[in-house]
């Protein structure tokens, strides 16, 4: 069974980069173009891990985490925040919302995969 990743990012470039890296590493890749779509897609995809951007239209990354951790879905799914900011406040805020970890943009492939493994136990 491949590990299913749901990536939520409004930048086509970042989605393409993620797709290339993750598919190369043997993950099953799904993506959404904003937070709203990501949360809506979540039940259907039922991913093993979510990677979300913070700055997005319609619903931002914090909103994604809050909704996924919220009553309706009540998910324990690992959520990695993909962000250009490395400020401690941001990490604290993401974690406060229930994020599992964070990846700093630009990411290098090995670090991304390493982070995914640490939160999913994926063999890939």
């Amino acid at each position: 069974m491949k590990t299913k990743v749901l990536a939520i990012d409004d930048s086509r470039t970042i989605r393409n980069l993620l797709a290339a890296t993750l598919e190369e590493a043997g993950f099953e890749y799904h993506c959404a173009v904003d937070g709203r779509e990501g949360v809506d897609m979540y039940p259907e995809i039922d991913p093993d891990v979510v990677i979300t951007d913070i700055n997005m239209p319609n619903l931002d990354g914090f909103g994604v985490i809050e909704e996924l951790r919220g009553e309706g879905i009540n998910s324990k799914v690992p959520i990695l925040v993909l962000t250009t900011e490395s400020a401690p406040e941001l990490k604290a805020r993401a974690r406060g919302a229930g994020a599992t970890g964070w990846i700093t943009k630009p990411f290098d492939d090995a670090s991304l995969i390493f982070a995914l493994k640490r939160v999913t136990g994926a063999a890939a």
Binding site: D10, R12, Y29, N55, T84, F107, F114
Partner: protein, 722 residues
């Protein structure tokens, strides 16, 4: 792979820059909707993110500053006043320039870059840290280390034993972190033994299901450096009690512990019970420096290599504003070509049927009519694929006007209309240079200085209106400024000085205005920064005529000038008049024909040795024999005059003498480029219904080559002068 992703990035940049421009224009127009600011912030942020991935440092640095200002605006710490909006507009222009430079490898204006950075800095709070924007390792296994290189690796890493005490706080379980996976990651690094410490587990009755009671003692034997081991716990830092003790020599350990303590602001063991959740979570944390040369794990490398490709990015097309399809231009061209053949094929069929001499062809003709309509529908559909709104082009022009205004110290605003007018992609691309030139001129020569405007009772800000519209099968682009208009005495004076017209020439206002298009004409007193780049309006005119279009100027002193560019909708099909000349069938573009007429002998007058003039309603127009101009031999005498009255760009009229007029129809333009080069008098070719090739004439160059027309022109000017 990454090459094509980089292409995507630049494409995306264009969209994002458009969104930025659009947002800023809305703000400039007084729209203070917070969502507009948010959208710009996100656009710039995305540019920064992508640029970071490709190591475009200049772009990243500038986008970061730019974005920071928007962040200030977004959080209401900064007010968007006029001055700031102008700065943001200029910054947005510069961002475009940086993207272009990154894509095409061009130079950027360093001084301008620094000025803008400094200006933006004034609006931002002291930058908390220098932005280092390089792929940051999370301390994971070192990226590219293939096994073959192992032998050559300097100083093979020593095995080390780490004793790890790990006790999660209950908060950790709310973040989706799972101890088991952390242990797995450790196990992948070497030998791992795990011992569960359940001493703190209370009796079943006393157990609080939300509390965390378990702790683990782990022993890891690994060649990975300490930083990699620590990185495993990166996400749970502050959410657990953690100690990592190495068995290395005491000194090294002391150093490492000191480093660790420095890294984790809160002392790792033992934190005060209450403080761990709140404060420690916010503790500053720097990602550890990636380990120098650790050993790559064979398992990962192999899996990477053998990992089957997951189904490719179908997902990518989901969502987004409008589902679109990226197609190579060449495929569309092929389709357009095929449709052209279809249209030609239709006329061939029609001709064949007519030649059959069957008495009742009504049914066939009905079907043929249906065929024709379908072919036309397909043609329009295919043309629509290439059609694009002029909006991006117009937005770029706003930038040109801003730059030109800044360079000349004038204040001008560009008002655009009809941005959604669609034009063939090629036409849009080739319009960019002419428009740029006209707009620069409009700012430099058209619009007056603010004080002069005030003196003339005008608003100090000049207005340049750029509009696009469809006009009976053509596209009309109009550039109208509210400046001083063409300075006709001066234009005439310069033309005389340059020997373009005789000193005593009497010219109509329109003729004087048209002198601006004459080769070698320039009104600039001195070569300014903006104009005088050796490009004149004649180049603009050539570019427009090269597109099969026309350009006209009209001007009113003190009120401004208007340039009107009329272009064909597409470069593939045009309306033409089918004529015969010396037994050859030819096509004349309908756009250049003013009227067609049959002339009688008494309308013809001689001029000089063999020149002839046609008298039309009291005016004389030179007659230009097309056959003669093309060097064709006519077997039989030409039937008494069939004329096409055409008008050139300079407003000069000429009667093209042809043998007969057959038909007016749409023809498919087949370029002669690359087949037989440039032929004077011939613009292109087409294929007719009978399968024969017909030349599409270029009236402009035929007239230019006609001695009669030239002689008449001189004659007319002289007689005007006398």
């Amino acid at each position: 792979m990454s090459g094509s992703i980089q292409d995507t990035f630049f494409e995306e940049c264009e969209e994002l820059l458009e969104a930025t421009d659009e947002g800023l224009t809305a703000i400039e127009g007084g729209d203070h909707n917070p969502e507009v600011v948010n959208a710009i912030f996100r656009a710039v942020h995305s540019i920064k993110g992508g640029a970071g991935a490709f190591g475009l440092d200049d772009l990243v640095a500038f986008a970061h500053r730019f974005e920071t200002v928007f962040d200030e605006v977004r959080s209401n710490r900064l007010e968007l006043d006029g001055k700031l909006v102008q700065l943001l507009l200029r910054s947005s222009d510069h961002l475009s320039a940086l993207v272009e430079a990154a894509r095409d490898g061009g130079q950027i204006d360093e001084a301008h870059h620094d000025t803008l950075l400094a200006a933006l800095d004034e609006y931002t709070p002291d930058e908390e840290e220098d932005l280092t924007f390089e792929p940051m390792g999370l301390g994971g296994p070192a990226p590219m280390m293939d096994l073959g290189g192992l032998g050559g690796a300097p100083a093979a890493p020593q095995e080390e034993t780490y004793r790890i005490r790990f006790q999660p706080l209950k908060e950790m379980y709310g973040t989706g972190n799972e101890p088991f996976f952390l242990f797995q990651a450790l196990r992948d690094m070497g030998g791992l033994t795990v011992a569960l410490d359940e001493n703190e587990l209370p009796g079943f009755d006393a157990m609080d299901m939300d509390e965390s009671y378990l702790a683990w003692d782990l022993v890891l034997v690994t060649k990975e450096p300490r930083s990699v081991v620590e990185a495993v716990f990166e996400f749970v830092e502050g959410l657990c009690e953690l100690s990592i003790a190495g068995d290395g020599d005491a000194e090294a350990e002391a150093n490492a512990l000191a480093a660790l303590d420095a890294m984790f602001a809160a002392p790792p063991v033992p934190p005060a019970a209450g403080s761990a959740d709140g404060e420690a979570a916010a503790a500053p944390f720097e990602p550890p420096v990636p380990a120098p040369e650790p050993e790559a794990k064979p398992a990962v490398a192999e899996e990477k290599a053998s990992a089957p490709k997951a189904e490719s990015g179908n997902q990518e097309q989901r969502g987004g504003p409008k589902p679109t399809l990226r197609v190579e231009l060449e495929r569309v061209d092929r389709l357009i070509n095929a449709v052209g053949e279809l249209i030609i094929n239709h006329s061939m069929l029609a001709q064949q049927i007519a030649n059959l001499n069957v008495s009742d062809t009504r049914d066939v003709e009905t079907e043929l009519e249906g065929f024709k309509n379908l072919a036309r529908d397909i043609q329009e559909g295919v043309m629509a694929i290439r059609a694009q709104p002029v909006k991006p082009l117009f937005q770029r022009m706003a930038r040109i006007v801003r730059e030109a205004s800044a360079a000349t110290g004038k204040t001008c605003k560009l008002v655009t209309e009809g941005e959604n007018t669609e034009v063939d992609k090629t036409v849009i691309e080739r319009l960019s240079d002419p428009l740029t030139h006209i707009l620069r001129n409009a700012v430099d020569h058209g619009v007056e200085k603010p004080e002069d405007r005030a003196a003339a009772g005008k608003q100090t800000t000049g207005e340049i209106r750029l509009s696009a519209s469809h006009r009976s099968g053509s596209v009309c682009i109009e550039i109208r400024d509210d400046g001083a208009g063409v300075n006709r005495p001066r234009v005439k004076q310069i033309a005389i000085e340059k020997g373009l017209i005789p000193e005593n020439a009497e010219l109509t206002d329109g003729e004087i205005d048209n002198l601006l298009f004459a080769p070698g004409f320039s009104t600039a007193k001195e070569i300014s920064n903006l104009s005088g780049r050796g490009v004149g309006m004649d180049v603009v005119k050539n570019a427009v005529t090269g597109l099969g279009g026309r350009i006209n100027i009209s001007s009113a002193p003190g009120k401004g000038s208007t340039f009107t560019i009329i272009l064909p909708l597409t470069l593939a099909v045009m309306d033409g008049m089918v004529v015969s000349v010396a037994d050859q069938t030819m096509v004349v573009p309908i756009t250049s024909i003013v009227e067609t007429m049959r002339g009688s002998d008494d309308m013809i007058n001689s001029l000089g040795a063999d020149g002839t003039l046609l008298s039309i309603r009291g005016n004389f127009v030179p007659i230009c024999d097309v056959a003669g101009a093309l060097g064709l031999y006519r077997e039989s005498d030409r039937q008494a005059g069939v004329y096409l009255l055409v008008e050139t760009e300079t407003g000069q009229r000429c009667a093209l003498a042809v043998d007969d007029i057959h038909d007016q129809r749409q023809v498919v333009i087949k370029s002669l480029d690359g087949v037989c080069g440039e032929i004077p008098g011939v613009a292109a070719a087409t294929i007719l219904g009978d399968g024969k090739i017909a030349m599409i004439l270029d009236p402009e160059s035929i007239i230019a080559a006609s001695p009669t027309a030239a002689a008449f022109d001189t004659e007319r000017r002289l007689s005007n002068a006398s």
